[in-house]
């Protein structure tokens, strides 16, 4: 009886852990992989790190340029479904002013690591839509 209960607990933990996977990992699981699954496994050290609800709130600053549908106008890149570690790396490079764009440097400049991962989790979870230009 005791052994059986323990097994159930582990399964439940794995079940909830799956929800915490980044969008790209979820896409990969659905057979719509954007990156090599092996690469995703290594990157999963940051998967599930970010507070998605916090990220959704912080994204209010972003969505006036980076549309939530992924539609891209005027060279503003879509940022949906990016692997979270890559999202975080790009934001950190703006924060360090290694990338050039004054708006992004100012926005990234005030974000802590926790906030960057929250944004990564939120945007990473948004689905890519077909036929969006």
């Amino acid at each position: 009886m005791v052994v059986g209960l323990q097994r159930m607990r582990v399964t439940r933990q794995r079940f909830f852990a799956a929800f915490a996977l980044s969008g790209a990992a979820a896409l990969a699981a659905l057979g719509l992989a954007l990156v090599e699954p092996a690469g995703m496994a290594r990157a999963s050290t940051v998967a599930g790190k970010g507070d998605k609800a916090f990220g959704e709130y912080l994204a209010g600053t972003c969505t006036t340029c980076h549309q939530v549908t992924g539609r891209s106008v005027g060279g503003v890149p879509p940022i949906l479904a990016w692997p979270e570690d890559q999202f975080a790396a790009v934001m950190k490079s703006y924060r360090a002013k290694d990338r050039d764009n004054q708006v992004m440097q100012a926005i990234a400049g005030r974000l802590s690591d926790e906030e960057i991962y929250a944004l990564a989790a939120y945007f990473g979870s948004l689905p890519l839509q077909p036929n969006i230009k």
Partner: protein, 427 residues
Amino acid sequence: MNFVSNRRHFIIGASALAGATVLGAPAVLGQAKPRVVVIGGGAGGATAAKYLAKEAAGALDVTLVEPKTSFTTCFHSNLYVGGFKTFEEITHSYDKIVSAYGIKHARQMASAIDREKKEVVLADGTRLPYDRVIVSPGIALKYDSVPGWGQAHEEKMPHGWMAGPQTQLIRRQLDAVPDGGVIVMVAPPNPYRCPPGPYERISMFAHGLKKAGKTKSKIIIIDPKEAFSKQGLFQQGWERHYPGMVEWLGPKVHDGLKSVDPATMTVTTGFETYKNCAMVNVIPAQTAGKIALDAGLANPAGWCPINPDNMKSTIDGNIYVIGDASIAGDMPKSGFSANSQAKVAAMMIRGELLNARTFPARYANTCWSLVAPDDTIKIGGVYEGKPEKITASSTFLSKTDEDAGVRKQTSDENIGWYAGIVADMFT
């Protein structure tokens, strides 16, 4: 009716439907939802109504009070004046957000806020009870602030500072300026909607004249201010693109605007008199929109003080004031700012009424100004609530020595932002 815990009422309502017993009447269920009224459907109000309704997913009764069925954005209206956008491209319907998120659209003006009874009074006398109000009325023009000018003269000497028919009038008048004609702009004193706006408009006037081959025309700006937003950048741009066409006069030079005469199209300053002007664009002093003043939400100068942490009025704890009408510290009065503040206010209201999770307020703004084709300059920052005011934690400004490639990228960015913010507000 006071709601201690709205979640409890909501759950009671749902089980009543399932059980179809004592509390089954739909009217009771309807009363269980907290009510939020949003006054004004501009950049602040449209954003607030959408975010409230969308994020509450049916748990809030949201009414947008706005007489218009579609909104012409003041931001990028200068691009229409300059011939870079059509009027249709800067005009957006409320249909999508109303139907997608179940927002009630009261298509009339709000005439008063009865703060004691907690009811918004509409123009036809209808009273809307509220738990919270978001007041986002934009600005009112001080028609008596320019001697010789007034509401009776706003067709002859338009302001174009509320987008719509006035914007189209400005464009028509610009198109009719003859080669060698003089345009005079009477610029506004601080604080006003859109700090770089008048100077982007000057750039659009100059571009329109140049494009039509009317390079003998002159544009004079009579400014009550000693300096203006992005001044060095604008003046460099005017010299580069429109040499000899634009003259900006500060108060030390013009020695004060004495009067304008719409009948003869004359502008008189202490220094010079301009007769038979082809066009006179008067942008007068401003206050918060009338409903905010009438409701007692403004200070003696006519702007509404708010709590920097949440945009709540410091005068009434059930009312939030956002956008141009509010005193927002370091944030300029802009569409971007209004949209940013609206999201904070919507979150805070959901926190109060639905026990939703809230986070510390974060604000942002960027103002892009088109100086000439592919030459756009910007200013902006990110902001937080601090005890005395909303305070910039970091700001940025275009540089005078940027190359053409950067200015082109900034121009594209401006177009990308506009597409994004109107999608954010209206879909």
